[in-house]
């Protein structure tokens, strides 16, 4: 689905992402983990065109998307959520979703239901709790036509109930054929839902494998503890 080759990005002499290469298969849930500063969000930004790489290429289902403007990459089929939920504060939940796609009320209600959003769709975005904002952001990303769903730390700051709901939501999406790439720090979450885990450290891929394989890899622990 998505292929990243030898991606490089530096900021003022320091490499945030260095020689990063990996591929994500369709209809899988892949998690990217790694200590803080490993370059995970930078990687996301490079894929989405928010940041321009200094070297390397990115392919989405065979089409090169390196260096394209963000809105074009979005239109080519990437939906993404952010570390801090980026909702349109002054608009209602419904209007937030309508930006993603022109949809009928029932379609909006359905996607909100699929993320277990409890409130009325006319609620103003600024009145939502943090966890509810996350759900709406995911719903909005889902509503937007896409081939790849990228979630940046979806469970950060949410309560255990919402976290459990997110697990169910992601499993459900995979059943429906979606491809999901996520960044996460919550190890329990990662290990229980991922097909594949990529470990990043210091801007590059350290290793990848199934959750079991990664958990058994001593180097991963060392990367987190800092040798």
């Amino acid at each position: 689905m998505i292929s990243v080759q030898k991606l490089d990005k530096h900021f003022g002499g320091v490499y945030a992402v260095h020689n990063c290469t990996f591929t994500v298969k369709e209809n899988t849930i892949t998690s990217i983990i790694g200590p803080n500063g490993a370059g995970k969000t930078t990687l996301f930004n490079l894929i989405c065109g928010i940041s321009k790489p200094d070297g390397g290429k990115i392919f989405l289902r065979g089409t090169e998307i390196t260096g394209l403007p963000t809105h074009q990459i979005a239109r080519l089929g990437i939906s993404r959520t952010f570390q801090q939920a980026k909702l349109f504060r002054n608009m209602s939940v419904k209007d937030n979703l309508l930006i993603a796609k022109t949809a009928s009320d029932s379609e909006i209600k359905e996607v909100l239901k699929s993320v277990h959003f409890p409130l009325d769709m006319n609620t103003k975005a600024s009145e939502l709790s943090y966890g509810q904002m996350r759900l709406v952001e995911i719903a909005r990303a889902l509503l937007k036509p896409h081939k790849l769903l990228m979630l940046d730390e979806p469970t950060a700051g949410v309560n255990p109930k919402v976290r459990q709901e997110l697990k169910e939501i992601l499993f459900d999406l995979k059943k429906k054929g979606h491809t999901i790439l996520l960044i996460e720090h919550d190890m329990e979450f990662v290990m229980s839902i991922s097909d594949d885990v990529i470990v990043m450290t210091q801007g590059a891929v350290l290793t990848r494998g199934t959750p079991k394989q990664v958990q058994a890899d001593k180097r991963v622990l060392e990367a987190y503890l800092g040798k």
Binding site: C48, I50, P69, T70, H71, A74, R75, S79, R80, F82, K86, L87, F88, R89, N90, M91, D95, N96, L98, I99, A100, T102, S126, R140, K144
Partner: protein
């Protein structure tokens, strides 16, 4: 009899300024672009229409050209400035207004500099008739922007205001939207300026002044950002508010500055105590 004329005069100005406020709202309230060049567009519309009509062009064509030239300046101004951060954008667009003022003052061959342009032809002889024309154009403007506010384009502009990156991530070409918002807003400001020129029949470089900018922003914020209705109402309120002063008997040399003081004070008070104004839908934070 004189009082009726006074009321008509007031209504005409309210009509013209409501066109300015409603159009400014698209850029500022809906799209989040702190455009201080609106007065520049107003002046460009005024000067263009005045000069063309004095050169013999039919009045309505001149007015249209005023709007078009203002729109083109809006598009050109937008190109480099929309990527600037909030207060830098404000400063750059303010710079544009000053540059226009400077051009008006110095390009004396065309604009007659500080002497201004007198004798601008009226559209119709009588003021009541002109009021009808202004009200029709104001109503059309209101309708256009109301439609925009409900449209996909308008909603996308609001999304861009609230979070441009999120809007891009949803596939929106934010650059094009911002340019379009500024261009449309500028067109109507130009029309407003042209109408103004043909009413007052004399314009000079002071049209590019900062006082009018504060007046516009007061009307805009009192009425409420991102509310078309608010802009119309804000214009009416702010125009009517200082009028009682006229009847208290202040000398006219004081009246002018007093009006500006009132507008500035209202803007400050609203910003501090009720930034949403009457019908605003946007948090200013």
């Amino acid at each position: 009899m004189a009082f009726i004329n006074y009321l008509i005069h007031l209504a005409i100005l309210i009509g013209i300024y409501s066109i300015l406020t409603v159009s400014l709202n698209l850029a500022v309230g809906f799209t989040g672009l702190l455009n201080m060049g609106h007065v520049g567009f107003f002046g460009i519309g005024a000067y263009t229409s005045a000069l063309l009509s004095l050169a013999g062009f039919p009045i309505w064509l001149s007015i249209l050209c005023g709007g078009l030239l203002a729109m083109i300046s809006g598009l050109l101004l937008a190109l480099p400035t929309t990527r600037l951060k909030g207060d830098y954008l404000a400063l750059a667009t303010l710079g544009f207004t000053f540059i226009m003022g400077s051009v008006a003052r110095n390009w004396t061959d065309v604009t007659r500099g500080a002497l201004g342009i007198p004798g601008i032809p009226k559209i119709v002889k009588g003021n009541p008739e002109f009021l009808v024309i202004v009200l029709i154009i104001a109503a059309i403007t209101y309708f256009v922007f109301w439609k925009i506010s409900k449209s996909r384009f308008g909603k996308t502009c609001e999304a861009i205001r609230d979070d441009e990156l999120a809007a891009k991530m949803l596939g929106k070409d934010t650059f094009k939207h911002k340019i379009a918002a500024l261009g449309i807003s500028a067109f109507f400001a130009g029309i407003g300026g042209a109408l103004f020129a043909h009413y007052i029949t004399f314009i000079d470089p002071s049209i590019f002044g900062i006082g009018d900018l504060i007046l516009l922003f007061s009307m805009l914020i009192v009425g409420g950002l991102a509310s078309v209705k608010g802009s119309a109402i804000g214009t009416i309120i702010l125009f009517l508010l200082p009028e009682p002063l006229r009847f208290i008997g202040f000398p006219s040399s004081i009246l002018g500055p007093m009006r500006e003081i009132i507008f500035a004070l209202i803007l400050l008070l609203i910003l501090i105590y009720r930034p949403k104004g009457f019908f605003g839908r946007v948090d200013l934070a």
